[in-house]
């Protein structure tokens, strides 16, 4: 990679990041108003609060201000103090605390699940393609499709019943600072369905490459098969896989609510859904911003990885 190319990619990255700022700003505004359209507020409860009490609470959190003022205060607090506001539901923690606690957890098991899904999925797909139309292929296809077709939330109860109740091997839930025993089930539960689709994409991509002209040429030159695959076939095979992996990484982190619900891992997925249901506005917004920023960054990384894998693409 020449210095010119590095420079080009650098300026591309900076341009993309600059565009990301208004994107996230608009995201905040859109979510803010959507949230307020939803019926009920953070302090709607079974026991309707007397007016005076409600007024005190709203005054404390600034909810008595006009909406635009609330939005403005919210934004300035983020920019000036990097403060994402208080939680209305969890009175002794604020949004920064909640994210600082939950995000590393989600990131840990999400990243491990992502790695597991990618490695196993790609390996399975490559093996199936190389041994096309053999039992390995059929096995890999069946496994991949089955993993993808099962709704991933049924993995939770199945794993806990098997490993905790019947085999007594693993603790049924919790995080305990991320010890491996507590990680096994969340990672398996989260990775299976993505593993299935990665295997399928890898397989069809690999098959296509193996039938292409340049591989035929390489074969004609008498190169050993493993070298052909390793040196020539693998890189182009992974192109469509990579464009799929980007969104998967985001999904793995944001769609992990069922892992938190079943395994009590304490990640952000559950906080996210419950904050929407309890109208904990600041928590909902904070996590949305985090996820939005993550999406933007992951998309950028995917594009950069794409450029690295496919030298034909230039920015």
């Amino acid at each position: 990679m020449g210095p010119l190319l590095v420079l080009a990619m650098l300026s591309y990255t900076i341009r993309r990041l600059l565009v990301a700022i208004p994107t996230i700003l608009l995201l905040i505004v859109a979510c803010f108003f959507l949230m307020h359209v939803a019926p009920g507020g953070p302090f709607t409860s079974e026991r309707p609060l007397p007016e005076a009490v409600l007024a005190n609470i709203e005054a404390r959190y600034g909810l008595d201000q006009p909406l635009w003022k609330q939005l403005w205060d919210y934004l300035t607090n983020i920019v000036v103090h990097f403060d994402f506001g208080p939680s209305f539901k969890f009175k002794d923690r604020d949004v920064n605390d909640i994210i600082a606690h939950g995000f590393p957890i989600s990131l840990t098991y999400g990243f491990l699940a992502f790695l597991a899904a990618s490695i196993v999925g790609i390996a399975l797909g490559v093996a199936a393609a190389i041994r096309h139309n053999t039992w390995i292929d059929y096995f890999a296809v069946c496994l991949g499709v089955a993993a993808q077709a099962l709704p991933n939330f049924i993995m939770g109860p199945i794993l806990i019943l098997t490993f905790t109740l019947w085999l007594g091997l693993l603790p049924g839930g919790g995080w305990n600072g991320g010890q491996w025993q507590y990680l096994v089930m969340p990672v398996i539960a989260l990775s299976t369905s993505y593993m299935g689709s990665i295997a399928r994409i890898t397989r069809s991509s690999m098959l296509e490459i193996l039938h292409s002209n340049f591989i035929r040429t390489a074969r004609a030159k008498g190169l050993p098969e493993y070298l052909i695959i390793w040196r020539h076939a693998l890189k182009p095979t992974l192109l469509p896989v990579i464009s799929y992996l980007g969104p998967v990484f985001v999904y793995v982190l944001t769609g992990s609510v069922f892992v938190d619900i079943y395994f009590s891992t304490g990640g952000l997925g559950q906080s996210y859904v419950s904050s929407a249901l309890s109208r904990d506005y600041a928590v909902l917004l904070g996590v949305t911003i985090l996820y939005g920023a993550l999406t933007v960054i992951v998309n950028l990384l995917t594009d950069l990885a794409y450029a690295w894998f496919d030298p034909k693409i230039r920015y």
């Binding site: 099962l150 709704p151 939330f153 996820y291």
Partner: protein, 283 residues
């Protein structure tokens, strides 16, 4: 088009899956004739002892057993399968219409319009789908329509991007230039030349969307935000069955799961078959 059909017909897996899907649709349409219970009727005798009285049996008329409330699972599975198929079809149809319209306009008009429209798509793509779905279902209440809107709302974005890219590629091709030089109006060009040429890509993507829609619906049901009783969906039945799988009523999970997996699998293979048939260059 003819080539494509031939290619599709030669794809054995896809044809087999079409047959299976056809059987499932027949089951949904004809099944109720054989059901001895309606989908909402409670079998009061079975209610107290689901484990034995609610087990699948020909005698009691509960071919698939009953759910937790003593309602016939055969009738409910039929109704749920219908719902899930509809969710898949309508959800992806919505994505198809909105996404195509958006993508064609952005791509064809180009310039600043394109920029603004696609920037909006980028922003919407950055909003977590979970949030969009939850908020729509909270705001709009829980009905079939809300469900379709929620699912359509999160799935048209990718479609719009694909269609735009295709439109951009098409609009500078010679035959379009020729039509324009021949005095054909812009609207006509879009309808006569652009849209027909998008057909293949759009159909392939839409068919791949159907199983995704059904999967998303099951996630919504898992969160308890699915459609209202007495109606149900496969996702809702599976979520309930998964909860009670350890309590000796495994049929509550297995019957809906069977239909669910069957639908998803056939959709996968049909989608793959369509892609191979309509988009040979892609392979």
């Amino acid at each position: 088009m003819r080539d494509a059909r031939d290619r599709f017909l030669r794809n054995k897996a896809a044809i087999a899956c079409m047959a299976v899907l056809f059987l499932i649709v027949v089951f949904v349409l004809v099944g109720p004739q054989f059901s001895q219970w309606s989908n909402e009727e409670i079998d009061w005798d079975a209610l107290g002892d689901i484990q034995t009285m609610g087990a699948p049996s020909l005698e009691s008329g509960h071919y698939f057993g009953t759910d937790e409330l003593g309602r016939d699972l055969f009738a409910r599975t039929i109704q749920a399968t219908g719902t899930s198929l509809l969710v898949g079809l309508i959800g992806s149809a919505m994505a198809l219409i909105l996404g195509t319209a958006w993508g064609v306009i952005a791509g064809y008009v180009g310039g600043r319009t394109d920029n603004i429209m696609m920037r909006l798509v980028d922003i919407l793509l950055a909003i977590p789908t979970t949030l969009v779905i939850i908020l729509i279902l909270i705001i709009a209440g829980r009905s079939f329509v809300a469900l379709f809107v929620a699912l359509g709302a999160v799935s048209w974005l990718t479609m719009a991007r694909i269609v735009r890219a295709q439109t951009l590629a098409l609009k500078n091709r010679e035959f379009i230039e020729a039509a324009r030089a021949g005095g054909v109006s812009e609207t006509m060009i879009v309808f006569r030349h652009i849209l027909p040429n998008l057909f293949g890509v759009v159909i392939v993507y839409a068919s791949l969307l159907i199983p995704e829609m059904i999967l998303s619906e099951s996630f919504i049901s898992f969160l308890g935000l699915g459609i209202s009783e007495p109606y149900t969906s496969l996702g809702a039945l599976i979520a309930q069955g998964a909860g009670t799988m350890a309590y000796g009523t495994l049929w509550q999970l297995l019957f809906p799961l069977f239909f669910y997996v069957a639908i998803i699998l056939t959709m996968f293979f049909i989608g793959d078959g369509l892609r191979d048939a309509l988009d040979p260059k892609d392979r």
